[in-house]
């Protein structure tokens, strides 16, 4: 419960899946498919986080709003501002934040520079597993 998100990010590896805001949406979809993930952090060249682009953004803001994925830029439909965790947050704090805002991906930042991205699955597994194990005793 008191694990820090910075530890989870380390455990998950140092992958910092991000995309630039001026890439096209179709390029983002290709990257998500090749990395088998549901969201990419949108970051500028210096790793400064400016938003997040998820399957949810794609499902809601392209075809339903008459846009095309090869003509629309990630920066046009990304979710911004994005809710981030600071590296010193605990896993529990992060999970509560995700539930409160109904989000499935949480970038971890230090001074708004991207350190990594946690999914609801990563965070929930870290919080739930130890407790679930206790309750089965």
């Amino acid at each position: 419960m008191n694990t820090l998100v910075s530890e989870l990010v380390k455990r998950k590896g140092v992958e910092r899946w991000s995309i630039a805001p001026d890439e096209t949406v179709i390029q983002a979809l290709r990257e998500m498919a090749s990395r088998d993930c549901g969201a990419l952090v949108v970051a500028e060249e210096n790793d400064r986080v400016v938003g997040i682009f998820s399957e949810r953004d794609y499902a809601r803001k392209i075809v339903l709003l008459g846009r095309h994925s090869d003509e629309t830029l990630v920066g046009e439909i990304m979710t911004t501002p994005v809710i981030c965790a600071e590296e010193h947050w605990t896993v529990e704090e992060s999970l509560r934040t995700m539930m409160e805002h109904r989000i499935r991906h949480l970038p971890v930042v230090k001074d708004n520079i991207l350190l990594g991205v946690l999914s609801l699955r990563d965070v929930a597994a870290a919080v739930v597993e130890p407790v679930a194990a206790d309750s089965s005793i």
């Binding site: 998500m32 499902a59 539930m99 919080v127 309750s135």
Partner: protein, 145 residues
Amino acid sequence: MRTVSAILSRKGPQVLAIGPDATVLDAIRKMAEYNVGALVVTAQERLVGIISERDYARKVILRGRSSAHTTVREIMTQEVVTAEPEWDMKRCMRVMTDRRFRHLPVQSQGRLLGLVSMGDVVKAIIDEQTFIIQQLEQYMQVQVH
């Protein structure tokens, strides 16, 4: 520990479903309308699959299809893992994390009862933990004073 049927009763009896012959565009519209990330696919009230934002993001434009001319059947996930109403949250969580699903349809004796999401499961677990902690705190206060 809380069970799947407790979650379903809190969510209400409505099951968000779509037919396999509907277009993907119809499915995306329905997901937006109800603000959900997946729909169960039913034919004659039987579960035949599940369609999610993931299926849409991976199997339409990237495979040269269009959402208006593709049916739900063509991109839905057919091999659906289902939960039973008496499953506890730990079991749901384990299945979802191991199999990498965010949604579990719930069935009992072949009848579709609803759909639980990872968010539903996590929320139920957190609520229960909060309740246990409050109980413990009250207990501690009683003991101290």
